[in-house]
C-alpha cells in the first residue's frame, strides 16, 4: 500500500484555483518534500490531505483512507505540525499534550511514556510542567511536533516547521525532524527552505499552483544541461575549442575538470567527440549536479524546459 496517493488533487475557493492537478505518491517510511514559494498551494494541499479542506477536484488516499470521506479515520492517521505551533500558552507542556491525547482518545498510560521519550530526545524533559507561554520559539515548535505524534499517526505533515525561527532554533527543529526520519516515519515536509529539504528529503515535488516537477532530489539536481568532464592533464587547453561548438553555452575549467553548459541535453556526445578529436583523454563524463536552488528557481520562474517526471 502506498502511503499517500494523490491524483489530480485540486482546490478552488470560489472562482479562484488555489492548487490544481496535484498527482504524486509518497511511499511508507519516505520523507517527501513539498517545495514552493509562498502562496503556491503547499498548505492547501496539506489541508486537503489532513481532512481540513475537501478537494474540489481529483482524489487522494492516505494509507488507504480517502481524504474526501475519511473523516475520523483520516484524522487519526495523520499528525499535523502547522507553521504556527498553536499551543495554549497558559497550559503547561504536559497539559497541552494531554489535551491532544484525550482528543485522539488514546490510552494516556501508553501514550505518556512515548511522549516522554520524545520530550527527552528533543531536550524538553524537565520543562513539561512549565506554561508554554514561557517556552522559546524552538521549544514551542518541538513540543508541537511531540503533540503531532501523541496518537502515533501513520504520516506526519510538517508545514514550514522552521519558519520564523532563528538559526539555532531552526537547527534544533531540523535535528528533531531528522530523528523522526531516521525512525522510518512517513513525513511530508512543506518548506521553501531548500537546504532543509535537501538535507531531510529523498524526493520532492515543486509546486506553484500546480505540480511543476517531482522526483528524487539527486535526479532533479541533475536535470538540465551541464556536464562534468574529467580529462587527463590540463583542461584549460580545451576551453577555446569547446566554446567554438554551437551546442555549448559556456565552459569552466579547473585543472583536469571541465564544467560545460550545453544548450541541449543531447549535446553530450558532440562535446565528448570534439574533445577526443582535439586529443583530450577523457576519463569521466557525468551530468553535473546543480544546486537545488538553481533548479528550484528555474522551475518556479518558468525557465525550465519541461517538468521532470517521477
Amino acid at each position: 500500500m502506498s502511503g499517500i496517493e494523490a491524483e489530480g488533487l485540486g482546490k478552488r475557493f470560489g472562482g479562484r484555483a488555489a492548487v490544481t492537478g496535484m498527482t504524486f505518491c509518497v511511499a511508507p517510511g519516505e520523507v517527501f518534500g513539498l517545495l514552493g514559494p509562498n502562496g503556491a498551494g503547499k498548505t492547501t494541499t496539506v489541508r486537503m490531505l489532513t481532512g481540513l479542506l475537501s478537494p474540489s477536484e481529483g482524489q487522494a488516499r492516505v494509507f488507504g483512507v480517502d481524504v474526501a470521506t475519511g473523516g475520523d479515520a483520516l484524522r487519526r492517521s495523520v499528525g499535523l505540525l502547522t507553521e504556527q505551533p498553536g499551543l495554549y500558552d497558559r497550559l503547561t507542556g504536559r497539559e497541552n499534550l494531554r489535551f491532544f491525547m484525550k482528543l485522539n482518545e488514546v490510552d494516556e498510560r501508553t501514550a505518556w511514556p512515548r511522549a516522554r521519550s520524545y520530550l527527552e530526545r528533543f531536550g524538553l524533559l524537565g520543562r513539561e510542567d512549565e506554561p508554554c507561554g514561557g517556552y522559546s520559539k524552538g521549544m514551542r515548535q518541538k513540543l508541537a511536533i511531540v503533540r503531532a505524534l501523541v496518537h502515533e499517526p501513520k504520516v506526519i505533515f510538517l508545514d514550514e516547521p522552521t519558519s520564523g525561527l532563528d538559526p539555532e532554533a531552526a537547527r534544533t527543529v531540523r535535528d528533531a525532524v531528522a530523528e523522526l526520519a531516521a525512525e522510518g516515519r512517513t513525513i511530508v515536509l512543506c518548506s521553501h527552505n531548500l537546504a532543509e529539504v535537501e538535507r531531510l528529503c529523498r524526493r520532492v515535488a515543486v509546486v506553484k499552483g500546480r505540480l511543476l516537477a517531482q522526483g528524487a532530489v539527486t535526479e532533479l539536481r541533475r536535470e538540465g544541461s551541464a556536464l562534468d568532464i574529467h580529462v587527463v592533464g590540463d583542461g584549460t587547453a580545451h576551453v577555446t575549442r569547446l566554446q567554438g561548438l554551437p551546442c555549448v553555452e559556456s565552459v569552466l575549467a579547473e585543472g583536469g575538470r571541465l564544467r560545460v553548459m550545453v544548450k541541449d541535453e543531447a549535446a553530450g556526445p558532440d562535446v565528448v567527440a570534439a574533445l577526443v578529436h582535439a586529443g583530450a583523454r577523457v576519463q569521466t563524463v557525468a551530468r553535473a549536479a546543480r544546486p537545488l536552488e538553481e533548479v528550484y528557481l528555474e522551475l518556479v520562474q518558468g525557465r525550465a524546459a519541461a517538468p521532470a517526471g517521477d
Binding site: 475557493f13 481540513l52 499535523l80 502547522t82 495554549y88 497558559r90 497539559e95 491532544f100 482518545e105
Partner: protein, 266 residues
C-alpha cells in the same frame, strides 16, 4: 461520525484549565455578581434600618399610588427592590458566558490554535458542546452562588423589619433554576455564533454585549414601573428563550463547519 463524550469532555477540561489560569477573566466574571449582591443588599438595608423615614412613603406611592397607609412603605420598597433586581439576576447568566465563550472560540483563532484542533478527530458538535459547557457551568455556579449569598445577606439585613425570610421565594427559585439556565444558554449561543464569525475575542465580546443590550430593557422597564413582571411573565419569556436557544444551536453547528473555519480564519 458518532458523538464522543470523551472528546467533548476533553474540550471542556482544556477550556476549564485555561479559564482557571486566566485571572483577568476570572476577576471580570466575578465583578458583576459581586455588584448584584452588594448593591441590592445595601438598598434593602437602607430601607430596613430607617422604616419611619417619610420619603419612603413618597417613593412607594410613586410605584403604587393606591398603597394603603396601613402597609409599611419600607417593607413595600424592600419587596419591590427585590423584584426589580430579580431581572438583573436573570441577566447575569447571560453576560458570564459572553465573556467566556468569546474567549474560547474567537480566542482559538487569535492564538492560532484552531488549525491543530480542527485537524484532530473532534467534531463540530463535540467542540461546540465542550465549549458551551465551559461557559454554562461557571455561569450557573456564579448565578446560584450569588443568589445564595443574596438570600443570606438580604434576610440578615431585613430581619429587623420583616421578622421572616424574604428569600428565596417561588418566583426567585423558578427564575434561578429554570429561566436563568435558558438565559445562560442564550448568552452562550449568541457569543458562540458571533465568535465563529469574527477573528478577535475582544470584538466577539463587544458585538455579543451589544446584542444583549435589549435584555437590559427588562430591568429598565421594571425599575421604571412600566412592567409588573410575575412568574407567568417569566415562564412565557423562558419559552421564547428556549426556542431561540434551539435556533442558535442549529446556527452554531452550521458555523462550526471545519472547512468554513479553516478557509476563513486559519
Amino acid at each position: 461520525m458518532a458523538f464522543s463524550f470523551k472528546r467533548m469532555q476533553a474540550v471542556f477540561w482544556k477550556d476549564t484549565v485555561d479559564l482557571l489560569k486566566n485571572r483577568g477573566l476570572l476577576l471580570s466574571m466575578l465583578a458583576l455578581p459581586a455588584v448584584l449582591v452588594v448593591v441590592p443588599t445595601g438598598v434593602v438595608y437602607a430601607y430596613a434600618t430607617a422604616p419611619d423615614e417619610p420619603s419612603l412613603r413618597v417613593m412607594a406611592r410613586y410605584y403604587d399610588p393606591n398603597l394603603p397607609a396601613t402597609v409599611s412603605a419600607a417593607r413595600y420598597l424592600v419587596e419591590r427592590s427585590l423584584a426589580d433586581w430579580f431581572s438583573l439576576y436573570l441577566l447575569m447568566p447571560v453576560f458570564v458566558p459572553v465573556l467566556i465563550s468569546s474567549q474560547a472560540v474567537a480566542g482559538e483563532k487569535e492564538r492560532r490554535t484552531l488549525e491543530p484542533l480542527l485537524a484532530s478527530p473532534v467534531t463540530a458538535a463535540e467542540l461546540l458542546a465542550g465549549k458551551s459547557l465551559t461557559s454554562l457551568v461557571p455561569a450557573m455556579l456564579i448565578t446560584v452562588g450569588a443568589f445564595a449569598t443574596l438570600c443570606v445577606s438580604v434576610n440578615v439585613a431585613c430581619w429587623p423589619l420583616a421578622h421572616e425570610l424574604l428569600l428565596p421565594n417561588g418566583m426567585w427559585l423558578f427564575g434561578i433554576f429554570v429561566v436563568a439556565p435558558l438565559f445562560a444558554f442564550f448568552g452562550n449561543a449568541v457569543a458562540v455564533v458571533v465568535s465563529a464569525r469574527v477573528g478577535e475575542a475582544r470584538m466577539a465580546q463587544q458585538i455579543s454585549g451589544v446584542l444583549m443590550l435589549p435584555l437590559l430593557g427588562l430591568f429598565g422597564s421594571q425599575v421604571a414601573g412600566f412592567l409588573q413582571a410575575g412568574t407567568r411573565y417569566y415562564a412565557a419569556l423562558a419559552l421564547v428563550v428556549a426556542v431561540l436557544d434551539a435556533v442558535l444551536v442549529w446556527v452554531g453547528i452550521r458555523l462550526f463547519d471545519r472547512e468554513r473555519l479553516v478557509s476563513r480564519w486559519v
